[in-house]
């Protein structure tokens, strides 16, 4: 506990940075994947191409991607934007298929009923399809948030500081405790993200639990 006692301020600071770097890819990834997923769901012909194509994005190895992005984006090599854009791409890769599945999980009779009631297509998406796709969408979002929190660590290799710094530094200087603290802090953040998402789901979708009881 020696190392942690002396460096807890550093750990807290890095945790804050880590959280900040993790939130944006999840939020932006969702915002980008949502219209893509809707298009893929609504127009099956496009979907047949779009869903596998977005899935392929996930197979891009992360380190080459982070090195290639500054060239593509014209950003400096140490710019955190590279990391955020890269992780957003992975989030989109995971979420497009999940959104298609989530929209597909909406009961057909309910969708028919919403047409018959006189929801406009726009209202139907926001007030019927999206909320009802919520539970399946949430389970996908939980996977993405956890994977993003862990991937942010890799940013340290390309010079974007996060809790990953503790692994690298601890490794280099032979301080196992520092590495361990980095790992544990990352896991704790992943749990917190997951907990927040579950809580949000309960607040936004009270019906999903009551329906089961």
């Amino acid at each position: 506990m020696d190392w942690l006692n002396k460096n807890w301020e550093l750990v807290i600071g890095l945790s804050g940075v880590h959280i900040g770097l993790s939130i944006l890819p999840v939020v932006v990834g969702l915002a980008v994947a949502l219209p893509l997923g809707w298009v893929a769901f609504r127009y099956k012909k496009i979907g047949r191409f779009l869903v596998p194509a977005s899935g392929l994005l996930y197979t891009i190895p992360s380190l080459p991607l982070f090195i290639a992005l500054p060239i593509i984006l014209g950003t400096s090599i140490l710019d955190p934007t590279n990391l955020i854009v890269g992780l957003t791409i992975y989030a989109v890769a995971l979420l497009v298929r999940q959104i298609v599945d989530a929209l597909g999980s909406v009961n057909h009779a309910v969708r028919q009923a919403s047409v018959a009631m006189g929801y406009s297509p726009w209202q139907r998406f926001w007030q019927v399809d999206l909320p009802l796709a919520g539970p399946v969408l949430l389970s996908g979002l939980r996977v993405v948030s956890v994977s993003t929190v862990s991937l942010v660590s890799i940013g340290s290799v390309i010079g974007v500081t996060s809790l990953g710094y503790l692994f690298l530094n601890g490794f280099k200087r032979g301080i196992p405790e520092e590495v361990l603290v980095g790992v544990i802090a990352t896991v704790i953040i992943a749990f917190i993200f997951d907990g927040v998402l579950v809580l949000l789901g309960r607040l936004l979708m009270p019906w999903a639990r009551k329906a089961q009881s």
């Binding site: 009923a113 009631m117 006189g118 019927v128 979708m205 009551k210 329906a211």
Partner: protein
């Protein structure tokens, strides 16, 4: 008044679901579309609120072609009740009932006050208002479905096998409830079912459809039973069915109505109306 003028519908490359049907539906009465599955009855119903567009022909409401109306506005002006209620699982009972008025821009408060009255109209306790549909029985869900269909006070109410998925006792209750509500509200109701007994029970007018999307015969239940135009209709309404051939017999001083096989179908009401029949 709803009018079908030479309406046909063909789903992608399939056979005709509706074949050149012309039909007039009387206002402020219950018209039942009845027939075996695949006769096009639901397709016909959904043409009224443009959930299905006819391949050819016109559907008119009060002499206005529905094809000229904005489909979203049109649907909000017509009540719709479907099988398995089609309630929004993520909305409370009261929010479900007030769906259409709120879509039309009525304030939530006003819509909810009216919604609570409607729950009473369909025989539901106000305590259920805050529940979610999944917390209700099938029969209660159908009642909510009816309340939702009535919420915007539409002139026309479309009902697509609304009582098809509930058990027989609840179905009879709901049918009775609908008759009672209709006697007060006098809507133009178009009701789809495959159950001829339900059709005769509820219909002022009954339209019998046959496979391939043809009208086999239209009339009041009495007209259809008295003069079926062909074997299909006679068969479909169960005219050859022994249980429908009734005669009167007297046992132990009580006049009973029995069917062709001698099974008791009921008790003959005394002519002064104060007999044993209840």
């Amino acid at each position: 008044m709803i009018e079908f003028r030479s309406v046909s519908k063909r789903y992608e490359s399939d056979a005709l679901a509706v074949n050149n049907i012309s039909l007039t539906i009387a206002p402020r009465a219950v018209t039942v579309l009845v027939g075996p599955s695949g006769c096009g009855k639901t397709t016909l119903l959904r043409m009224i609120n443009r959930m299905v567009e006819p391949t050819s022909g016109q559907v008119l409401i009060d002499d206005v072609d529905v094809a000229t109306r904005n489909p979203v506005q049109l649907r909000r002006s017509i009540g719709y009740v479907m099988q398995n209620s089609g309630l929004m699982p993520h909305r409370t009972v009261l929010d479900n009932v007030t769906t259409v008025p709120v879509l039309q821009g009525v304030s939530r408060k006003v819509a909810q006050a009216h919604g609570l009255e409607l729950l009473a109209t369909v025989g539901l306790d106000a305590a259920l208002a805050k529940r979610y549909p999944a917390q209700l029985s099938g029969g209660q869900q159908q009642r909510v479905g009816v309340a939702r269909g009535l919420a915007a006070d539409p002139n026309i109410l479309l009902m697509d096998e609304p009582f098809g998925a509930v058990d027989p006792i609840v179905r009879r209750e709901l049918q009775g409830e609908l008759s009672r509500i209709q006697s007060v509200l006098a809507k133009t109701i178009v009701f789809v079912t495959h159950d001829i007994d339900e059709a005769f029970l509820l219909g002022d007018q009954v339209v019998i459809l046959r496979e391939g999307g043809h009208v086999a015969q239209q009339g009041t239940p009495a007209e259809l039973l008295a003069n079926p135009v062909d074997d299909f209709v006679a068969d479909f309404i169960g005219r050859g069915d022994e249980s429908k051939h009734l005669s009167i017999t007297e046992r132990d001083g009580t006049r009973l109505v029995v069917d062709a096989r001698g099974r008791v179908a009921g008790i003959l009401a005394a002519e002064d109306g104060h007999g044993l029949a209840q």
